[in-house]
Symmetry: C2
C-alpha cells in the first residue's frame, strides 16, 4: 500500500534551495509517480500525516497537492482524499539511477565523433607554446568594452538586442567591405559579406553548401585538421594534393582533374597550415584558370592575412579572380582574441544569401552588439592601430624565437623563418618522441603539443607548429629553456 | 605593346585611402597582369615615365616594382628594365566586370536554400507585434556589462579570451546544473551540459547527431518552422503528428510506430509552438514509455519554461525520464535578449561529448567572456531576479493584451488565454487576408506577421502568434488600435 511508503526518506527537502518547499514536495511526488513507486489510483497520505512526518507546515502539503492536481498527476476525491490520477498509464517500476544521467543513452544513434580529438583548452594552460595564437593581453579589450557600454546605453543600441539578420550587422558588413578594399584591393558590396563566428564557421558553411555525400574536395596533403573533419562531416571525400615550398602543387592537381571531378579546392595560399609556405604567383594564376575551366569553387582561407613581416602580403586569390570562383574566408578572432568569435565570408550575392539561410538553422544569428562594437572600432581606426601595434611586437617575438631555435636547438629542430603568421613549422630529429616531450614539458609547467593535430591518414612527420606570438620576451626565454631541458628525456 | 597602355587611366590612385600609394600602384599592376592586359614578358614603363604620367614620386614607383618582383609577378632584367614574369601562365584577356562580385558564381553547386523565407530582422522595426519575444529594455544589460568589465580587467579574466572548450565555460555549466536542479528538479552533472548559442544550436546539433539521410523524426502537425527546416537539412523525413488542446496526440504516434520506425520526436511539451498548448501528464508518461520501448530519442525544446503565469510550470520530460531518452534544450536568449546568444543542451555524457565535437567544426567555441559573465549573474541571483521581475510584468501585459482582444476583436479574432509563454495564438475570421493586414499595418508603422511562418506542407490556417511581452502598456494600446483600424482594409 502506498500509504506505508517511507515518506520521511522519500521526500527529502532542502531548506537552502531557492525552490519553495511546496514545489519540492510536489516534485518529489511527481518523481515517485513517474518511477512507478506510486501507481495510478494509489492514495496519498493525508496532508496532516505527511506534514508531521517530514516536519513542515500542513499548508505547504496542501499547496503541493493542489499543484499535483492542477498538473494532472493526482485527483481529489471528495471526502476520501487525494489519489494518483487513475488515468495515468501504469508504469512498470523503474530502476532509480544514482545520478540522473549516466555516460550512455537508450536511444539508437551513430556516434561518428567517438574518436574525435578533444579540442584544446588553453584557458588554464599557464605557460604555453601554442599552435600560433595571438597574445590576448594585447587585444584592445578596454576599447571594445567602451563601445559595448556606449551602445547598450543608447536608445537605438537597445534595438541591437532584438532579433536581427542572420547575415550579420549591416554596419559591420559595410565596415568589412571598406577594410577589404583598403587592405586587399578586394572590391565587394555588403551583400557579398556574411559575418561569421570566426573563420571556422565560414569553412563549415561553405563545406555544407558545396558538398553532398560522395563529392570530392581537394586539400593539401598536410592540412588544417578541423577543415578536413568539416569536409568529411559534410559528406565529402578528400583528394590530397602535395604541398612544397611554393605551396600546393597545382600541376599535380591539374593531372588529377583529368580523372577526378571535384566540387572545390580548400587552400590557405598565404601561409599554408601547418607548414606556413606561400603559394607562388604562377600557381595562383594557374589555380584560378583551372577553377574557371573545371567550374569548381576555391575556398580561400585567409585567416592569416594581417600578419606579414617582410614584404607586403600577397593579394588574396579573391582579389585577382575575375570569374567568381573564390569563396573568401577571414577572421578577426585570430587577430584580436580567439574567444571573441568574429569572422567573415565573401562570395556572390546568391551564395552569401544561401549561407545566411543555413546559418539561421545553426544559431539564428550572431551577437549584434559585439558586431556593432567591432564596426565602430573598424571605422574609428582602432582595429588598424591594433594590427600595426601587434605586427611590430610579433615580428620582434618571431625574430627572438627563431634566433634561439637556430642557436640552441640546431641538432634537434630544423625550421624556416616564416614570412608571416604566428607560428613556426618545426621538424624534430627522428630520435625525439613528441608525445614524451609534450608529457615531460607538462610536468615542468610548459604546455606544448604532441604533434598529433598535424597528422592525417596520408601525412605523418615528426613535426609541430610553435606559436611565438602569445609569449613575451621573458616567456619565450623561459619556455625554450624548459623545452631544452626536457628534450634529453624525450628520446 | 605594353608600354603604350593608357597608364594614366589604368592606374588610379586614391590619396584618401589608408593603403600606401606604392601598394596601390602595385595592386593596380597585379590587376593588369591577372586580367591579361599585361602579358608575361611585357615590359613595364620606366619608373621615371610612370611617375610623371600619374603624378607621384619616382621612389613610390620603385617601391611598387620591388614589391611586384618580390611577390613573383615581375622580374628585373639588368640594364633593360622590369618585365612581367615570363614564367606566369599566359592568361587569355578576361572581361572586367563592373562590380567585382555579381549575384551569381561560376562554380557548380546546388542551392537548396533558394526558397528559404528570409529571417525576420526586428532591429529597425519600430512598433511591432512580434512572434512572442522578450522586451530587451527589461534585460539587465548594465549588470552584464559590469561583469564583462570586471572580468576583462582581471588577470585571470584575460585567459577567457584564449581558446577554451567547445562545450562551453566550465563555470557556466556548473551554474546551469544548479539552476536546472533548483527550478526543474533535474539533477545532472556539468559533463551532461553543453553551452550553445541559443536553443536553435541545440536543435541543430541534436538533429545532425540523430538523423542521417532518410531517417524519420516525428513533429507536431503545426510546428516551429526553423526546427522543421533543420531536420530536413540534416537529411530527415518529417512524420506529422496531430496536436490538440492537450498537446501532441501520443495515441496517434503509437499507431504510426506500428508501421514507421523513427529516430526521434521533437516536442515542445510546455507550450507548443505555435499554438501554446501544454502536453498533459498522461501523454507525458505515455511518450516516455514509447521512447523506451521503441528506443527513439525525445528532443525536448523547453525554451519557454521560465514563463508560466498561473500554476507552477510542469516539470520537463527530462526531469521525469529515468531511461535517458530525452535530450533537453533550453535558452537564456529567449529570457534576456535574442541577440545575446546563450542556451544549453542536456544529455548523456557521450551524447554531449559528440555534440561538442560537432560544435567545434561549426564555430570552434562560444564567447567565453559572455559565458563567464552569465555564470556570475546566475550565481549572484541576478538571473533569478530578472526572471521574477519580467514574469510579473509579462503577466500584466498578457492580461491587458487578452482583455483588449476579447473586447475589441470579438468578431475578427478567436484565441485562448495562454497559461505561459510570450505569445497568443490568434485565429482570424476567414474573410481577413493576413497578407493584406500585414501590408496595411506596415503602412501605418506597425509590424505584424502575415502568418506564413506558421504554415507548412500539411498545416494551414488563418492564424498567427501575437507577442505581448515586448510591448509596454502604451504600446499595446497603440498597436491594437492601429490593428483595429487596419482590419476593414484587409478583407
Amino acid at each position: 500500500m502506498a500509504q506505508k511508503l517511507p515518506y520521511k526518506s522519500l521526500v527529502q527537502l532542502d531548506r537552502n534551495a531557492s525552490a519553495a518547499l511546496y514545489v519540492q514536495v510536489c516534485n518529489a511526488f511527481i518523481a515517485l509517480i513517474t518511477k512507478g513507486i506510486l501507481q495510478p489510483s494509489d492514495m496519498l497520505p493525508s496532508s496532516r500525516t505527511l506534514a508531521e512526518l517530514i516536519g513542515v507546515n500542513r499548508n505547504t502539503i496542501k499547496l503541493a497537492y493542489e499543484e499535483l492536481v492542477s498538473q494532472g498527476w493526482a485527483e481529489a476525491v471528495e471526502r476520501k482524499g487525494i489519489f494518483v490520477n487513475s488515468k495515468l498509464p501504469t508504469a512498470a517500476s523503474r530502476p532509480l539511477p544514482d545520478a540522473h544521467l549516466g555516460p550512455h543513452e537508450a536511444f539508437v544513434w551513430h556516434n561518428r565523433f567517438r574518436n574525435a580529438l578533444p579540442s584544446k583548452d588553453l584557458q588554464k594552460a599557464g605557460l604555453a607554446i601554442d599552435d600560433g595564437f595571438p597574445d590576448v593581453r594585447l587585444a584592445p579589450i578596454d576599447h571594445l568594452m567602451r563601445e559595448y557600454r556606449s551602445l547598450s546605453r543608447k536608445f537605438y543600441g537597445k534595438n541591437f538586442l532584438r532579433y536581427g539578420s542572420s547575415a550579420g550587422s549591416e554596419r559591420l558588413r559595410i565596415s568589412i567591405t571598406n577594410y577589404l578594399s583598403n587592405t586587399r584591393g578586394l572590391t565587394v558590396s555588403p551583400e557579398n559579406v556574411l559575418i561569421t563566428k570566426g573563420s571556422q564557421m565560414g569553412i563549415y558553411l561553405a563545406a555544407h553548401l558545396l558538398l553532398g555525400a560522395g563529392d570530392t574536395i581537394a586539400t593539401g596533403i598536410s592540412n588544417y585538421l578541423l577543415a578536413d573533419e568539416t569536409f568529411r562531416e559534410a559528406g565529402g571525400n578528400i583528394l590530397r594534393i602535395p604541398v612544397d615550398a611554393c605551396g600546393m602543387d597545382i600541376d599535380y592537381l591539374e593531372k588529377a582533374l583529368a580523372t577526378t571531378s571535384i566540387k572545390a579546392v580548400y587552400i590557405i595560399p598565404h601561409h599554408h597550415l601547418p607548414t606556413t609556405v606561400t603559394l607562388s604567383s604562377e600557381r595562383r594564376l594557374k589555380l584560378l584558370d583551372l577553377a574557371k575551366t573545371h567550374r569548381f569553387a576555391i575556398i580561400e582561407d585567409d585567416y592569416d592575412f594581417d600578419f606579414h613581416y617582410d614584404n607586403k602580403p600577397y593579394l588574396p586569390l579573391a582579389s585577382i579572380d575575375h570569374n567568381q570562383n573564390v569563396i573568401y574566408i577571414g577572421s578577426i578572432s585570430k587577430t584580436f582574441a580567439p574567444a571573441l568569435r568574429i569572422g567573415f565570408m565573401v562570395g556572390s550575392t546568391e551564395f552569401v544569401r544561401a549561407a545566411a539561410s543555413l546559418r539561421e538553422l545553426i544559431d539564428r544569428q550572431g551577437d549584434t552588439l559585439m558586431e556593432e562594437a567591432f564596426s565602430v572600432m573598424f571605422d574609428n581606426g582602432e582595429v588598424d592601430r591594433h594590427f600595426r601595434k601587434s605586427l611590430k611586437i610579433y615580428k620582434e617575438r618571431r625574430d627572438l624565437f627563431c634566433d634561439i631555435l637556430a642557436s640552441d636547438f640546431e641538432e634537434e629542430i630544423s625550421f624556416n623563418v616564416p614570412e608571416g603568421g604566428l607560428g613556426i613549422w618545426t621538424t624534430f630529429s627522428p630520435d625525439i618522441n613528441l608525445h614524451k616531450m609534450s608529457h615531460e614539458a607538462g610536468r615542468k609547467g610548459l604546455y606544448i603539443d604532441d604533434g598529433d593535430f598535424y597528422k592525417n591518414e596520408s601525412y605523418a612527420t615528426n613535426a609541430l607548429r610553435m606559436g611565438f606570438a602569445s609569449l613575451n620576451e621573458a616567456e619565450i626565454l623561459k619556455a625554450l629553456k624548459t623545452l631544452k631541458e626536457v628534450l634529453p628525456n624525450a628520446r
